[in-house]
């Protein structure tokens, strides 16, 4: 690790969740503007310029940092919208800008030297050479690690690079390498890279059929549920499909990430910051999860054992199934 205590980076989809995360113990919160410049471009979420300025004041007053995600890929002929988002974030006093597109990184590096640049997970930089390229070209200070690396691989990576690393520990889990997945635009015309959305809600239908409910995306059946079975959201890569004569959750079971049990391992691997996914989540959820992870991170910092960490994080599953994802080598 490049410095002492691990930093807890928490989601803030709205001004209310920003305040909730800060009060629950977030070292930093991350958020985005209310447009397609960020990868959680959902209705009812995100910040205006005024809300961001106020959020930064609140966070700074409480000793927390604000990281602004401008992490989609700028649309051709509209790059100025992304540049202006970066300018606004800098003017509002953001501590860092999280970006993936070379155009955005280049703009921030040249025009806002006082703002830290964090390389978004959407850039999918997983090797010393790739991270070195972004560090040399744009002066990035931190890389958010793609969710395809094992803890051992993260440790090796940290030995080979100068910049800080940030690792996801909780929340939604992308199975595909983020920033390089077009499944959503293939089915719906809208994608994370182009529009900041994946499997968009306006393309979802739940169709009641005799003895079952089908969850469809853009007309493609993603899963089917028996009466009484909890119905899930039809995210493409968590669907049930037929291939090779088998019907299965081919890409990934409908699970979410919980690497709470790996905090100590990630710390030993040299990770600087732990990230909680979930800018689409409400205030109550954010408060509870951030509070639990604050206690867990502090306990790890004080040498707490695995049983204690498990006890602190018990109950953070919402009844859904969880995985430690690629951090465990057998996931591959």
């Amino acid at each position: 690790m490049k410095s002492g205590r691990m930093e807890l980076v928490c989601p803030a989809g709205t001004p209310a969740t920003l305040r909730a995360a800060v009060q629950a113990g977030a070292d930093a919160v991350y958020c985005g503007f209310r447009d397609e410049t960020n990868a959680r471009n959902f209705p009812g979420l995100n910040f205006s310029r005024e809300e961001l300025a106020e959020g930064v004041r609140f966070a700074h007053d409480h000793g927390s940092k604000v990281l602004v995600a401008i992490n989609t890929f700028a649309r051709v002929n509209d790059v100025d919208l992304w540049k202006k988002a970066a300018d606004t974030a800098a003017e509002c006093g953001a501590n860092a800008i999280i970006a993936a597109d070379i155009a955005v990184l280049d703009h921030v590096a040249k025009n806002h030297k006082q703002v830290r640049l964090h390389l978004s997970v959407q850039a999918a930089a997983a090797t010393p050479e790739a991270i070195g390229f972004y560090a040399t070209s744009f002066g990035i200070r931190r890389v958010v690690l793609p969710r395809v690396l094992s803890v051992q691989e993260i440790a090796a990576l940290n030995r080979a690079i100068e910049v800080e690393t940030e690792a996801f520990v909780f929340g939604g889990l992308c199975v595909m390498i983020e920033g390089r997945c077009y499944l959503s635009s293939y089915a719906t015309g809208k994608s994370p890279n182009l529009n900041g959305v994946c499997s968009p809600p306006e393309m979802v239908s739940y169709d009641d059929e005799p003895n079952s409910t089908a969850a469809r995306l853009s007309g493609f059946t993603i899963d089917r549920y028996e009466p009484g079975e909890p119905v899930g959201y039809p995210t493409l890569c968590k669907g049930k499909f037929k291939a090779g004569g088998k019907t299965s959750y081919l890409f990934e079971d409908p699970v979410s990430l919980n690497a709470g049990g790996m905090i100590a391992g990630l710390k030993a691997a040299g990770v600087t910051a732990l990230k909680i996914e979930g800018r689409q989540r409400g205030k109550g959820y954010v408060t509870e999860v951030v509070h639990a992870f604050r206690k867990a991170v502090d306990a790890v910092g004080q040498g707490g054992d695995a049983i204690e960490i498990d006890r602190i994080l018990a109950g953070q599953s919402e009844g859904s199934r969880q995985t430690a994802g690629a951090y465990s080598k057998k996931w591959r």
Partner: protein, 299 residues
Amino acid sequence: MSAIALTLGPVFFHWSPDRLLDFYRRIANEAPIDRVHVGEVVCGKRMPFSDPAWPEIIERLESAGKEVVLSTLAAPATVRERRSIADLCTDERLVEINDVTALPSRSGKPFVTGPFLNVYNEASARFLIQRGATTICPPVELSLAAVGAMAGVCPEAEFEIFVFGRLPLALSGRCYHARINGLHKDSCQFICERDPDGLAVDTLDDQQFLAINGVQTLSNQVHAFCPAPADVTSRSVRRIRLSPHTCDMVEVAKTYRALADGREDPKGARFILSCLDLPGRLVDGYALGKPGWQTTASI
């Protein structure tokens, strides 16, 4: 020289050395293709099998007057994979970069950016052109209009659009061929070799949807964008890319050459392609700014 050049992209699938040799022998001798990409792009674990075949393939292609481009891995992870990229980047031939990992070793020398590298706008394109990009083949989800908008303001580089083949939609750290057979990537038994065009993935209602190829996910449908030549040239796009499949790729190349030369019209070209032994039905949505699975043109 023709106004629109034809590129044969890299083979995405795990083909045996014999299959690769046979395939490229025919391409060298019979296909009206200007530029041919060689090398493994999807999975570094396959490289020990195919590596010995490439020198002979390259020699045959170059003897036949084809320009050879060395394609590099899209998702390198191991030390060996990273070293192979650095080694390929020292070659005097053109190199295709599919991951930023290759940029430091290739910067200052000419390269192609492949569809796995995120070039979405003119500012990113210019940045890469300054570092040596001479051909840019943007991600497949971009429309012809979007690629043309970049090409129009970046005349220093050639822009290339993906027009034929199952669409490369995603990469993962996880191998789906291994997973579906109860194996892990680290002990995969190279079973992806059984599916030389990828393994079809259907929905629960038997809708043809996707295809898996080890760590890669492709479309089940075959993207077959057949534009009138003027639609391409008027947007300053100078190359079209065909992606290899087990169908008659010489026929595919001849069809696109005839289309680009105005000897075949789009409808006729689509008809010829639809008669081939393809792994899925024809689509072209992405090229027109629609969902990729959609078909906007009739046969």
